[in-house]
Amino acid sequence: MSSEITGKKIKEHEPLITISRRKSMAFWVRLAIRAGSVLVALIVCGLITRFVTGDDPISVYSTMLEGNFGDLDKMWYMFYNLAMLLGVALALTPAFRMKFWNIGGEGQVLIGGLATAVCMIALGGRIPDWSLILVMLISSVTAGAVWGIIPAAFKAKWRTNETLFTLMMNYVAMYLIKYFIERVDQSGSHTVGPKLLSHGWLPTVLGEQYLLNIIVIAALTVIMYAYLNYSKHGYEISVVGESENTARYVGINVKKVIIRTMALSGALCGLIGFLLVGGFSHSIDPNIADGRGFTAILVSWLAKFNPFTMVVTSFLIVFMDLGAEEIATKFGINPSFSDIMTGIIIFFIIGCEFFINYQIHFRKKAAKEAE
């Protein structure tokens, strides 16, 4: 339907290629296409690594596996990273289901982490550890919620653009942390570490420092799935996301739902900040979120906002990340190499959606014979 605008008399019957929407597709075919795209991505990654490092492709893959599952420590670290990324993705998902593009996850995590650190410094040693942890939890969740509510309230009241607003809030959080570091740490090390944050460490479970965070996120995954799919709130979120007019029509208070959902989204991000600072690093600097606030957007989208699928998509991204990091260390390549790998795999995963949604037809021979 495109080439006919030229105005010249073309003695051609139909464009060579036409693209049309598919009606539907069996579940296993879709799964096969997606699995195939991951496979192709891995092959391309292997070839590129081969080209850059001279290593043979099979050993490239084994290096990647090694980076993730090489020894027990690496495996724990992999699961910890998976949990943290998944956690942020879970936090963002309610907002996304509402079509509220919260790209301020990074800032919400940071502000939660900052609140935790502030409590640790201000109250550490003065009150018992268990009550300190409780205060840390409450203040980090509150701080995250406030960071979510501010753009939501502006959106609900004055229809401001939430994407820009949440993005800007990231920088505010980042600079607040920088300010905090300047004030607390006189040594100029740009980080406030375990020495200063010596109280309020979360307990370890079974002697594993990562396990508590992993358990919390696992529980959160199940809870979030139930919240989104079976609760009244989850239903309201879906209706508001699909059509605000319909929501108004059935008497849903759209403003209330927007603010409530963003409070939840921000609060959960704050919780992740609490887990990162109190549960693992016991330090704070503007990089503690490590870009997860942005990567999580991708995790959530790729999983079509389904919490259980997000386990798979975040694993995929963490696996590529850690695997490529291992390759970079082993061959002494620039660490950006891992970003290239991740980029390739994401390209293929997103690209395959085209083949799931559309069908390509080539011009039939019959049309040519009719000439």
Binding site: T6, H13, V239, E242, T246
Partner: protein
């Protein structure tokens, strides 16, 4: 008109496929010189696709087009013009700030650019066919029917002698339609061939010489209008016998339900959308609302439903069982429900307001009832039962209750929506354009449902566009024009022309408020 009249256009074995859908299947059609051929068919029967192939927008997958007996390839709208084919689309393609003349000559390469000369030529064409037109008037100052005139003149100016009109009467009042028909007859007498797409049967009978009926992409038959009847055409169009009767019962006791008085709405741009609207809706009665599209119908219903706040006026709901009256003005839909008022509303925008397109039928059933129950979780059992009941009783064609409603056809979407609204056992039921875009069978099912509600004592408010239907269905008809009530007539005795006049009575309905 005889068999020997030369053919202007001939289609042979024309087929067009989009993905899995066969839009046109081996269509054969002939258009004679100097005739009006009506193309009749339901929505989705392939009328527009076929016309788009003739006017060069699409290209047939197979089959041939002949003009004056010669095989042609129409690869673009420009090609179509060079063969003298001009199409007037349903949606106008005009530049608002340009005058009629400027719009008409836009894109034509003439030897010399001379606006005055062009204007003269346009005036001459207009005079020949009896158009009323000021060539220097700007488009934004024009009414819908004037804009349509510009579109028709545009193709005539380019020398078209095969004209394709896509649903030209959909936006016109009866008077304007009559005017258009007079023009079409003069064009025909001048030797032009005209194809007119429509699904209104009485218009087919009034204007066409022959009728070509399409059904599901196939050409069923072409018949002489003089030797056929509306019933016969319907049967060809639908593929089965359908009864075109609306049973209008007369209910004896009709107590007042809803008293609207002095309702006005000024929007945020300061434009008066509604101006002092007053009427009463009664139990056991269908109150029709007639008016040109955009006369304030949507706003009126949305105010009653609690979705908009009026600038002034009152809405009182009366309960005849206990003689209590409650004020509905400026209440939210939830507050209205909490007052015990069962108000159902089938909005104009079905998938954008009444339903959620991406949700399945069960979740759409739940829209009205999801708050029930004390837990934080929704109970999907009752809506599931309701969905299955509606699918069964209204014969909704769907793979299952778990199918997203946007995947259903227009008629089935509407059945889901109307079914849900009626299931709430309303005392007031408002429906805006409930049969727009629906096939004949679904339309008559909706009329039947509305009538059943009326017989159950519901006060039904029906906003419609087809005056013939309004006159057959409604007990009383409220006519609005430019946000003002221009009359309330009895549906059993009123004449179509009378309503048509009221629809255009108050000129320049949009008045600015100082």
């Amino acid at each position: 008109m005889s068999e020997t009249t030369p053919l202007a256009l001939e289609l042979k074995h024309v087929t067009k496929v989009f993905g899995n859908i066969v839009a046109n299947d081996d269509v054969e059609m002939e258009l004679r010189r100097g005739e009006v051929l009506a193309i009749l068919g339901e929505n989705g029967s392939g009328k527009t696709t076929l016309m788009n192939m003739i006017s060069g927008i699409y290209h047939p997958d197979s089959g041939e087009i002949y003009i004056d007996g010669k095989h042609v390839t129409i690869a673009s709208p420009k090609d179509a013009f060079s063969y003298g084919i001009g199409m007037v689309h349903q949606h106008f393609k005009l530049v608002d700030v340009f005058s009629a003349t400027e719009n008409i000559i836009l894109g034509i390469h003439e030897d010399k650019f001379n606006l005055n000369k062009s204007a003269e030529k346009i005036a001459e064409i207009a005079a020949r066919y009896g158009f009323e037109m000021d060539p220097n008037k700007k488009i934004y100052e024009m009414s819908v029917s004037e804009k349509q005139t510009v579109e028709i003149l545009k193709v005539l100016y380019r020398g078209a002698d095969i004209l394709i009109l896509d649903e030209p009467t959909a936006v016109l009042t009866p008077q304007e339609t009559e005017k258009l028909f007079r023009v079409i007859r003069r064009m025909r007498d001048d030797g032009k061939s005209i194809m007119i797409i429509t699904h209104k049967l009485h218009e087919v009978m009034a204007i066409s010489d022959r009728v070509a009926v399409l059904r599901k992409g196939r050409h069923i038959a072409t018949v002489d209008t003089a030797s056929t009847t509306q019933n016969e055409l319907t049967e060809m169009m639908v593929g089965e016998r359908v009864s075109l009767n609306i049973d209008r019962a007369k209910i004896e006791e009709t107590p007042d339900r809803l008293n609207v008085s002095g309702l006005s709405l000024v929007n945020f741009e300061g434009i008066r959308i509604l101006d002092d609207i007053s009427f009463t809706a009664k139990s056991g009665e269908i109150l029709g609302i007639a008016g040109v599209a955009g006369s304030g119908q949507r706003e009126l219903l949305e105010i009653i439903a609690g979705l908009q706040t009026p600038t002034s006026g009152s809405i009182e709901y009366h309960d005849p069982s206990n003689n209590k009256t409650v004020d509905l003005r400026s209440k939210t839909p939830l507050q209205i429900r909490d007052l015990g008022v069962r108000l159902s509303f089938v909005p104009e925008d079905r998938l954008g307001m009444g339903l959620v397109g991406n949700m399945d039928i069960i979740d759409n059933m739940m829209l009205r009832s999801y708050r029930k129950g004390k837990t934080v979780f929704v109970d999907r059992q009752p809506p599931k039962a309701l969905a299955e009941k509606i699918i069964d009783s209204l014969k909704v064609v769907t793979p299952s209750a778990k199918t997203a409603v946007r995947k259903l056809s227009g008629g089935n979407v509407q059945k889901v929506l109307v079914g849900r609204e009626i299931a709430a056992a309303p005392t007031v039921l408002m429906a805006a354009y409930p049969v727009r875009g629906l096939d004949i069978n679904s339309s008559y099912m909706i009329y039947k449902l509305l009538n059943e509600q009326k017989e159950n004592g519901v006060a039904v408010i029906f906003v419609g566009e087809d005056l013939d239907v309004l006159l057959e269905l409604c007990d009383r008809i409220l006519v609005i024009c430019g946000g003002r009530v221009t009359g309330i007539v009895d549906g059993r005795t009123a004449k179509k022309e009378e309503i048509g006049l009221m629809m255009t009575k108050a000129k320049g309905g949009e008045t600015h408020v100082e």
